[in-house]
């Protein structure tokens, strides 16, 4: 068993023995902070706007004419490391020929890696700036097309950012 040696190198001076100067030192810093600018944010009232580089929850881009961009190629679901995406394709009369009949992202699985956005050939799946994700049940956390589709206009800043990158 090791018995620790006595603290021999550090001898207390008289002032240190009475502890008060040490306390005053600490208090001085606290008082200085009173005068400084506030660093915190009053969150629910003061909202935080993420920069365009922010990777929030993935959404599907919805064009102005009400058609989603996705062509149901399934690349995003292949590349997703967390197996969060399920896509089922169906035929359509439109020019793009295929559209996702079912598109689900399990937000309990998603790890916000951004691979789906990176791989999508149509820029259809995009990381939005939404960061408030709370669910009261597991079923609620599986986002279908109703929750995923988002007008392209709202995604402009992110799209511009992506274009500047690649």
């Amino acid at each position: 068993m090791s018995i620790p040696p006595e603290n021999k190198k550090y001898e207390l001076t008289f002032w240190e023995k009475i502890y008060i100067p040490e306390l005053v030192k600490g208090l001085k810093l606290t008082l200085e902070q009173l005068l400084e600018k506030k660093f915190t944010r009053q969150y629910p009232e003061e909202r935080w706007v993420p920069p365009p580089s922010f990777r929030g929850r993935p959404v599907l881009a919805l064009e102005e004419n009400g058609v989603e961009r996705c062509v149901a190629c399934g690349l995003c679901s292949r590349v997703c490391p967390a197996l969060a995406i399920e896509v089922q394709a169906a035929e359509t009369e439109l020019e793009k020929e295929r559209y996702p009949d079912l598109f689900e992202i399990n937000m309990l699985r998603c790890i916000f890696c951004g691979f789906c956005e990176e791989v999508c050939p149509e820029e259809a799946i995009i990381m939005s700036d939404e960061y408030e994700l709370a669910f009261s049940s597991r079923e609620e956390a599986i986002f279908g097309k109703d929750k995923l589709l988002m007008p392209v206009d709202k995604l402009r800043p992110r799209l511009n950012y992506l274009h500047s990158q690649y």
Binding site: M1, I3, P4, K9, Y19, L29
Partner: protein
């Protein structure tokens, strides 16, 4: 003072009273176990006879997952090993695959990687220092540390879009180029950090109460540290001058001027909790130096030119090691020539560092376990993997 208790024990026996060892469970939900760790303490009165760490509460099958994902898909999982040092984890993994495939990485990428890795090291040390102060009972430094860590996270966020799990360093490059103001922002951070380090020294590190709680506690002699495979600040705190960034240079660390900081036993004995703690504080300053030098010669270029279209390393195996804020992070990667790794083994520094806790806690008081555990600076994410 501990000598007295020993004699007291003998005296108690002489009096014919019965003494008994007691087992106390600390954790898994204890605030100072830094995550879900359970320590089984065998006590005699207040004296510790044995500490048995029980791990595995945060096991997420990283290694098994890696066998079922493509090489690139493993990167987000490496983030989640040591979640306070994601960039360093990415870096090690990417280096391994690059060496397997023989990829030369552009100059600019190397610079970005080193700057990011050092920023991450500072951020990680800030958490370690802050939470350690809190373990000991000083709440304020914790807030100051987090305030300054925030600046670093902001830079990460603006660069790659995440604040904790970045998925930033990819095989052959980085996921996003840095933004135009990057150099200025990072230089500002360094400017902010220097006063913080001074502030921390004034408020916490040279505080009498703090020194009393940490000096001469949990002494880890150099030979024990080496035998148990301790690395990082844990090893350097014991006075062993070893840092992978200097002794097995990877990336471009050999181009910068900086010093490896070791514990000197200023306040007590070499290898005590105070030394380990101070090595982290000094290392922040060294990281600042590296960042400043890297910013001076920050080259232009394309950051994604070397990213391979498909990652399919030739048959073979490799062990890479990098200096993570907690020590030597190693990846042992076996490739069977397909698109998925055959095996990825992680060597977590925290695992070896934690294993020594029994050796260094024997004979101290119960309250000292908190101080000793905090000075090891564990992250359960990498220990349990």
């Amino acid at each position: 003072m501990l000598d007295n208790t020993l004699t007291t024990r003998e005296e108690i026996r002489d009096l014919g009273l019965r003494t008994e060892e007691m087992v106390l469970n600390m954790g898994p939900q204890h605030p100072s176990t830094h995550g879900v760790l359970r320590l089984e303490l065998v006590l005699e009165g207040e004296i510790i006879r044995k500490v048995i760490p029980h791990i595995g509460y945060l096991h997420r099958c990283f290694e098994k997952h890696a066998e079922n994902e493509s090489y690139t898909q493993v990167i987000p999982y490496t983030d989640r090993l040591d979640y306070l040092a994601s960039i360093n984890n990415n870096h090690g993994y990417a280096l391994g695959i690059e060496r397997l495939m023989g990829i030369e990485v552009p100059e600019r990428v190397e610079f970005i990687r080193v700057i990011m890795a050092e920023l991450q090291r500072i951020a990680s040390h800030l958490v370690a220092i802050g939470t350690y102060g809190m373990d000991i009972g000083a709440f304020t430094p914790f807030l100051y540390c987090f305030r300054d860590r925030e600046h670093i996270l902001d830079v990460f966020e603006k660069t790659c879009g995440a604040r904790l799990l970045y998925n930033y360093i990819w095989i052959g490059g980085v996921s996003h180029d840095v933004y135009p103001d990057f150099v200025k922002d990072v230089a500002d951070i360094v400017k902010i950090l220097r006063p913080t380090i001074k502030e921390l020294n004034d408020l916490l590190n040279y505080n009498k109460i703090f020194i009393d709680r940490t000096a001469n506690i949990g002494i880890l002699p150099a030979d024990v540290a080496i035998n148990f495979g301790c690395t990082g600040p844990m090893l350097r705190g014991s006075g062993v001058d070893f840092d992978l960034r200097r002794d097995d240079p990877y990336s471009i660390y050999d181009r910068f001027e900086w010093e490896v900081q070791v514990g000197k036993g200023e306040m007590g004995t070499v290898g005590d909790c105070w030394d380990r703690h101070m090595v982290r504080v000094w290392e922040m300053e060294e990281s600042c130096k590296i960042i400043e030098q890297a910013l001076e010669s920050f080259p232009e270029g394309d950051v994604q030119s070397a990213i391979p279209r498909r990652v399919r390393p030739p048959k073979g195996e490799i062990y890479v090691r990098v200096e993570n804020p907690r020590g030597e992070l190693g990846y042992y990667i076996i490739s069977d020539g397909t698109g998925t790794p055959f095996r990825v083994k992680g060597r977590a520094p925290g695992f070896s560092n934690l294993s020594v806790i029994n050796e260094i806690s024997k004979g101290y008081m119960v309250a000292d376990v908190v101080a000793i555990l905090g000075s090891i600076d564990i992250v359960l994410g990498e220990i349990d993997r």
